[in-house]
Symmetry: C2
Subunit: 103 residues, 2 copies
């Protein structure tokens, strides 16, 4: 499917510490919260050596609002205190896309 409207992707890459108590539960909670945010369009994640999460949003404003959501701010703090050795956030405008699906 081609998206009709322009939209934005947030690429979140991260390296976990060994201190990940509470991480899985928080991730689940944040995924539920994100889905309720205005302008949220979807999310995909994978993790092996590093984690990569890509979330899609209708606008830069929607991304900013999510960054500032109060429970998400607490999760970000916990992430910096405990769970991540590093993370990298890229906010991107999707210029073009295409897909392949096996028949």
């Amino acid at each position: 499917m081609e998206q009709k409207k322009p939209y934005y992707a947030v690429i979140f890459t991260s390296k976990q510490t060994k201190n990940i108590a509470g991480y899985a539960g928080m991730t689940e909670f944040m995924e539920r919260l994100a889905k309720e945010q205005p302008g949220f369009l979807g999310m995909e994640s994978a993790r092996d050596t590093i984690g990569i999460t890509v979330s899609n949003w209708e606008s830069l404003e929607a991304i900013k609002n999510w960054k500032q959501q109060s429970q998400h701010i607490l999760a970000q703090q916990k992430g910096r205190e405990n769970w991540y050795n590093w993370y990298h956030v890229r906010i991107c405008k999707v210029a073009h896309e295409y897909e392949f699906h096996r028949e």
Copy 2:
């Protein structure tokens, strides 16, 4: 580190088939080839249920040239024939970014 110049990210998400003979070797080969491409800036990957690879490029032209690189075209064909149930390619302009590093 903040990137000085505007740059582009290609988000490649994919779901593998069970028929992945030859996949690992091709991935390694493609990573080596990509690094030699003009305008290539870096690449990160993770895979569990799905795979996500993000590669960074200086320009849309560099991305187009990589897509059309002859050995990469063969790899793409093999991917559609054998290795992927689906894939999704998003070409994005990085608007803004920030990082956290544990001290």
